[in-house]
Symmetry: C2
Subunit: 493 residues, 2 copies
Amino acid sequence: MPSYSDYVTTMQRIADIRAASAVLQWDQETYLPPKGAHFRGRQLSTLSEIAHEEFCSDSIGALLDGLLAAGTLDDAQRRNVELSLEDYQKARKYSASLVRRLSDAGNNAFHSWMEARRRNDFRLFAPALTEMVALKKEEASVLGYTAHPYDALLNEYEKGATTAQLDAVFGALLPQLRGLLDELLAQPAADDSFLRQHYPADTQWQWGLHLLRALGFDGEAGRQDRSEHPFSTSFSPQDVRITTRIDEADFANMTWSTIHELGHALYEQGLPPEQYGLPLGEAASLSIHESQSRLWENNVGRSPAFWEYWLPQLRTYFPGQLAAVDGERFFRGINKVQPSLIRTEADEVTYHFHVYIRYTLEKALLDGSLQVADVPGYWKENYRKWLGVTPPDDKSGALQDVHWSHGSFGYFPTYSLGSLYAAQFYAAAAAALPGLEDDLRQGRTERLLDWLRREVHQHGRRYTSDGLCRRITAQSLSSAYFIDYVRQKYGLT
Amino acid sequence: MPSYSDYVTTMQRIADIRAASAVLQWDQETYLPPKGAHFRGRQLSTLSEIAHEEFCSDSIGALLDGLLAAGTLDDAQRRNVELSLEDYQKARKYSASLVRRLSDAGNNAFHSWMEARRRNDFRLFAPALTEMVALKKEEASVLGYTAHPYDALLNEYEKGATTAQLDAVFGALLPQLRGLLDELLAQPAADDSFLRQHYPADTQWQWGLHLLRALGFDGEAGRQDRSEHPFSTSFSPQDVRITTRIDEADFANMTWSTIHELGHALYEQGLPPEQYGLPLGEAASLSIHESQSRLWENNVGRSPAFWEYWLPQLRTYFPGQLAAVDGERFFRGINKVQPSLIRTEADEVTYHFHVYIRYTLEKALLDGSLQVADVPGYWKENYRKWLGVTPPDDKSGALQDVHWSHGSFGYFPTYSLGSLYAAQFYAAAAAALPGLEDDLRQGRTERLLDWLRREVHQHGRRYTSDGLCRRITAQSLSSAYFIDYVRQKYGLT
């Protein structure tokens, strides 16, 4: 007779292996000496293999089925076991061979991508990408789908998402955004030159730590380090790591990426520790994770109320650079809208076009209507069409993102979904918390964090993205909130 | 029909799990946020459990037996498989229950020890230590022994070592050392006050890195970080980590611990990468490991020839502190002999008394002739007897070392053996490399490192400690080399 505590023990053991993987990956991005890469690669592959083997064992299936059949679980327990069973059934579809081929292809593609970027030549990446696309098609058919192979891959990152749903979301969003963008570009351009003075690295680092602590990051249950690409990761709710990158010639880079990663970290630190290793101890989905990072980065961290408090603080760190920059100029500068080539540097309005181009491109690769060799052409054509800019080379074009080299097809759309959820959740928070803007003006974010903890963080994976959205906002995702937010920010009527 | 490559695959997978453990431990000592300790503890336990389960599986025994029976292995392959079989037979003696109880007792004892240290009261550590001693007795009987239970535990750290052998080593060494010590204490005391000026941390850090690189540490295949207690660890020969501690009021602390850890790291970086995960890719033993750290720290790093080159370099880092300190005063200061209470701060001569006291104490706990409650009394009595000093409290007495809280009984003697091997190996190097001292005077250590690579590092575990010693020096371990070395250093006839 299987017991719930057998289930907990089994799942937590697998969680320990995955956490160990996460530590090794964190170390790889932060401190690994160059020659260590080879053996680190195999250590990571071994840990993935073991976690996969242990999770896919027949005994776990029997345990999960037995627990659900016994009918002795309370609601939270039942939800955990149901979600584990879903995960289990999905994981069992992957043969050991497919897991290994995906892992090997990922290693190979990553190195090809690095080399292609270095030599600024997409053709060097094309063979590895072709192999990866073929594998992802195989993966999609193993996972199964009805309408479009991409649906199967989307599910990796956003359970229940379909191309039909995403087409509808972007179909509602982009025409309106394009209209707003035209209005904004007809206005005089904002001056953001003050962001690109010399900002010494040490002072930026101190400023970032100050901000993190003040906004609720528990420094006893996490830390910040430096890496080439900022990211967040978690080994338990009591050990959440974020990283940042400092560019002395660009102040914006570090500050908003720090606030972005903070949003992810607050979510992880807010997950219930007693559910460690179980679905209710995990984030709801990637899009909900991204809603938390975007909410802090943009809805809070690019608002005039927030900077009413923080700009005077910031001036104490950089008096020379910012003495002459008043609140209005600062606000306009940090929210400057301008079509550009690089996704990670895009403003909030044009960002979604970057995502949409990648989304349609991935779909077309998956259904065979686009060949890998034609990716750079597709890229240029669509950047011209949607944003009116043309990449001069592959590095600022189709080679700019790491995602495909990892085999992450279906990941990009969660960035847009996250922004839309952020706007919708923030509107709900503002309605639930009268005086929220006054809080920000006084440098107070405790009530907001408390609300997010209660409404989002503490539930883990109990609700789907849509279920959580309906619970919090009484409706499914709607891009109207994001459009309203943009209109209000830029004073458009 | 089992193949050697099955063996390699199996062993390397286990090595990957152990390397992952080592990364998690390294992180625990360097960067882990305080609240992360709880989940990190269980992640480490899970990895140990998995490594133990995988290594102890019946299939590995069959594989090893099959390979040896087939008779198709070359010499190096046969040695690997034989050593793995020894390890396997030993590991199989540990039941899962004993492994878990040792691990739990270690966690418990470590926290008790920390608390006892904080409150400076051995009695707070006594219950946990009593439990640990009982478990170690059980472990000794599970492992088996003929003469003394301590022999079984010694084997954990130094294969083949026995109390009879150690009694003989110390029996030869200590009376002579005691005589030397009396001679040295009759001389005027050296002045080492220049070591305890203010040495800024950043400059010490830069100095340490300079020294590491100049002495052959491959910074592309390893790194240095800070931790409370300096240590070295390795995740592969291409990723070897060392840590240091910086005390601004005590220059000696960081410099010689850096050179000590460098010695360990050079050994690990010199192991053959193609033997990763196999016995021939591992260090010969703890005492041989310690011979490498001691050789660099003392035989090289406290020699007048070495500082003839390095003191002028060091003065460029600390001109104010060292302008008035000439070579003679520096040499005498860094080699000052003085009986003291703390093992890790002891000079080369008195060091062995610290080790011997712990060795006899551990033996007595294991055979029941000493009870845990009587440890502080035994400690005081023996420190007075051998060194003429009496600890005023438990922190500077029986609570000073972490080893027992980890269950490491039998570890201390390897420190003394390491020093003795270092002296014997260094004498062999000097004989094999005419002009070695001139090398040091010119800041050149490449020939010495090359010799150590060839004579020690590249062989991994191919030879036992004794086999290696006889191969290099044409005789077994003899304390005569260490005594000669001390006589020569201090100008005693």
